[in-house]
């Protein structure tokens, strides 16, 4: 689904150049659930912006679903973003003046679908996140968890192949975070590739793979399986504690 080859991203100010991503090589297969971890300033957001076609890059190559996106025009990259990528943000990023229905409608408007097709997709997406009865509510009338579910419905309504989630549970309490994560897992099980940026190791462990960024470099690629929180040490007390 995603293939990055020697990809680098540099931010240039008047006198300073910051290497945000350095020589990244990464492949994310279709249907994977990848967690991207790293401390603040490690390049996670730059990584997500480049992968989400929200920002360009300076060196290397990026293939999205087999298509080289290195030299796309704004129009083509916008179309690709609209058709293939869904976004979920930490702060939900719903448009406050639009009700739930119209918020979910936004990406479909740019898709150019007809009214009937859009309506079916919107109601289907809202039903799938359990908000079919809240179409006329405004974001301010919903809880944080409900807002994030609307954001998920908005991301899914256009049936994207790739879902990019930036700290999707960062603004939610534990119960709601779990609910959202379960929802993402379900979406992933249905075939959507998910790349999720998170600080939370517990969340990251639920992914099928973790990747770590530090100073714009890909440090290591973790195993293709969820890993235990603590590796066995042979210490009996610790083993008992962990179990």
């Amino acid at each position: 689904m995603i293939r990055l080859e020697h990809l680098s991203k540099i931010y240039r100010a008047a006198l300073v150049e910051t290497l945000a991503l350095r020589d990244l090589d990464l492949t994310v297969a279709a249907g994977e659930f990848v967690a991207v971890m790293g401390p603040s300033g490690s390049g996670k957001t730059s990584f997500l912006n480049v992968v989400g076609l929200l920002d360009g890059f300076d060196q290397g190559r990026y293939l999205l679903d087999g298509q080289d996106v290195s030299r796309l025009s704004d129009r083509d990259s916008s179309r690709l973003r609209n058709e293939k990528i869904g976004f979920i943000f930490q702060s939900f990023n719903l448009i406050p003046d639009l009700d739930v229905f119209d918020n979910v409608d936004v990406p479909l408007r740019y898709r150019g679908w007809g009214a009937k097709e859009r309506r079916e997709a919107i109601l289907g997406a809202l039903e799938s996140v359990g908000l079919g009865a809240r179409t006329k509510h405004y974001p301010a009338q919903l809880s944080g968890g409900q807002q994030q579910r609307v954001a998920i419905a908005r991301a899914l309504a256009g049936r994207p192949k790739l879902l990019l989630a930036d700290e999707p549970t960062g603004n939610l309490d534990t119960a709601m975070a779990r609910e959202i994560l379960e929802m993402l897992e379900t979406i992933n099980e249905q075939g959507t590739t998910i790349v999720m940026v998170t600080h939370d190791p517990e969340l990251a462990r639920r992914a099928s793979r973790q990747i770590h960024l530090l100073d714009g470099r890909l440090l290591d690629v973790a195993a293709d399986h969820p890993r235990p929180l603590f590796a066995p040490t042979g210490d009996a007390a610790m083993t008992t504690f962990v179990s």
Partner: protein, 435 residues
């Protein structure tokens, strides 16, 4: 997407009512002033007789001083008016034109029964004047050809003077004393107030049409002279008879020529006439008899007051300033919305889509202001008309409303292009975290 963008624009206007009202007020003011001035210019410069003016010709004969041209700046131009003799012989007495009118403006005294006499603006002319210039009648008609031939004292009254003298009554057949002569009313005009006094642009083109109209045939017998411009190169024109007999030019001559052949025939007639006069000692300059189409005549003589054009240019500049001021307002409004634009970009809006969305909002703002501005213009023109104390003079017609709307769209474009370009150029990733 147009409907969607209109919906978003409307929502945005409602979300910021104070800012939107300011923007709409700025455009309304600009459009109001611009539409008013453009309308005034349009009515002054427009075709006074659409469909007919191309058949109407102003008669010019070069009877001027053989030593120097009438206008040293434009030596090829004959005098701008006619002598009495030429108006009579070359215009009134010719059978070639379909219609013809010789005329001049005078001021005569009306003596209403039981009231103080007062002076009235008078047009001394031939009966064809009314048909030639499509003057509308409310009662009666022009004096007849027979009455004109017999030199009967008949008069046509304007609607205004008829109201003053006889109320709203049909006064045809009633009599009125004008100077020392009793006239019988032959007709009463319907309200008639062309923006430009197109038939006599050298004697106050901005004036209202005259209040009374009397036969040309009575001019000399009654010793009536003009109240307007007289130009002369000879001597002895200062007396009444001298004015009629001298080379002074003070009358206007108009003809209606329905075909090219009729025009050629009349042109030949004029040339033969001046050849004849030359043989008798007049017209010592080379033949330079011109039949000038009405609109070309107006254009050459700059009948539209230059102030009207200047006012229009200033008003359009004012509209431009209003639109430019709006740029700052819209820019601030749009940039405050950058996070939302970032979300839209992330969800698939292209830069062009964001640009169009915001341009539509600008145009929506402009249209709101434009509608208010057109209403404002309608009101201002009403005030001007009342101040001019005439019948309805300047009014907004469909073409002018269309022009106002066109100016509105242009103003919206001028005000909106830069803010829309700026907001669509904002990198989407920059504001996503801030939302």
């Amino acid at each position: 997407m147009v409907g969607y963008n209109l919906k978003l624009g409307w929502q945005s206007l409602r979300r910021t009512p104070v800012l939107s009202s300011l923007a709409i007020a700025a455009i309304a003011l600009g459009i109001g002033v611009a539409t008013t001035c453009v309308t005034i210019h349009y009515l002054l410069a427009g075709d006074p007789l659409p469909g007919k003016s191309d058949r109407l010709f102003y008669v010019r004969l070069d009877s001027w001083d053989p030593e120097r041209p009438f206008d040293s700046d434009f030596p090829e131009r004959p005098p701008n008016q006619l002598t009495y003799r030429d108006a009579l012989a070359a215009v009134v007495e010719s059978d070639i034109p379909a219609r013809k009118a010789a005329m001049f403006r005078a001021r005569l005294y009306l003596h209403p029964e039981g009231a103080q006499p007062f002076s009235a603006d008078t047009r001394v002319t031939t009966r064809d004047f009314f048909a030639l210039f499509a003057v509308p009648f409310r009662f009666g008609d022009a004096w007849s050809a027979e009455a004109e031939a017999r030199g009967e004292a008949q008069v046509v009254l304007s609607a205004e003077i008829n109201r003053k003298l006889f109320g709203e009554a049909n006064s045809v057949g009633r009599t009125i004393k004008i100077d020392q002569q009793i006239f019988t009313v032959a007709g009463v005009l319907a309200p008639w107030r062309p923006a430009l006094k197109f038939y006599d642009i050298h004697n106050g083109s901005e004036r209202s049409p005259e209040e009374i109209y009397i036969p040309f045939a009575l001019a000399r017998p009654l010793g009536i002279v003009n109240a307007g411009n007289t130009s002369s190169w000879g001597q002895g024109w200062q007396t009444v008879d001298g004015k009629y007999d001298s080379e002074a030019v003070w009358l206007q001559g108009w003809v209606e020529l329905e075909s090219d052949s009729q025009k050629q025939a009349y042109q030949s007639f004029l040339d033969q006439y001046t050849d004849g006069q030359r043989a008798a000692g007049r017209f010592q300059r080379k033949n330079n008899n011109q039949l000038q189409p009405m609109r070309a005549w107006h254009q050459q003589e700059e009948a539209v007051p230059p102030s009207a054009k200047s006012l229009m240019v200033i008003a359009l500049a004012f509209l431009g300033i209003c639109a430019v001021n709006l740029i700052g307002l819209l820019l601030g409004k749009f940039l405050a919305r950058a996070p939302e634009v970032g979300v839209r970009r992330a969800l698939g809006a292209s830069r062009a889509a964001v640009f169009v969305q915001h341009l539509v909002e600008c145009e929506l703002t402009a249209v709101g202001g434009g509608l208010a501005g057109i209403l404002l213009s309608w009101g201002v023109l009403g005030v001007i008309n009342r101040a001019l104390e005439g019948d309805v003079h300047y009014r907004l017609d469909l073409p002018m409303i269309g022009t106002g709307f066109g100016l509105t769209l242009v103003a919206g474009l001028v005000a909106g292009l830069y803010p829309a370009w700026r907001i669509c150029s904002v990198p989407p990733a920059t504001h996503l975290k801030l939302q």
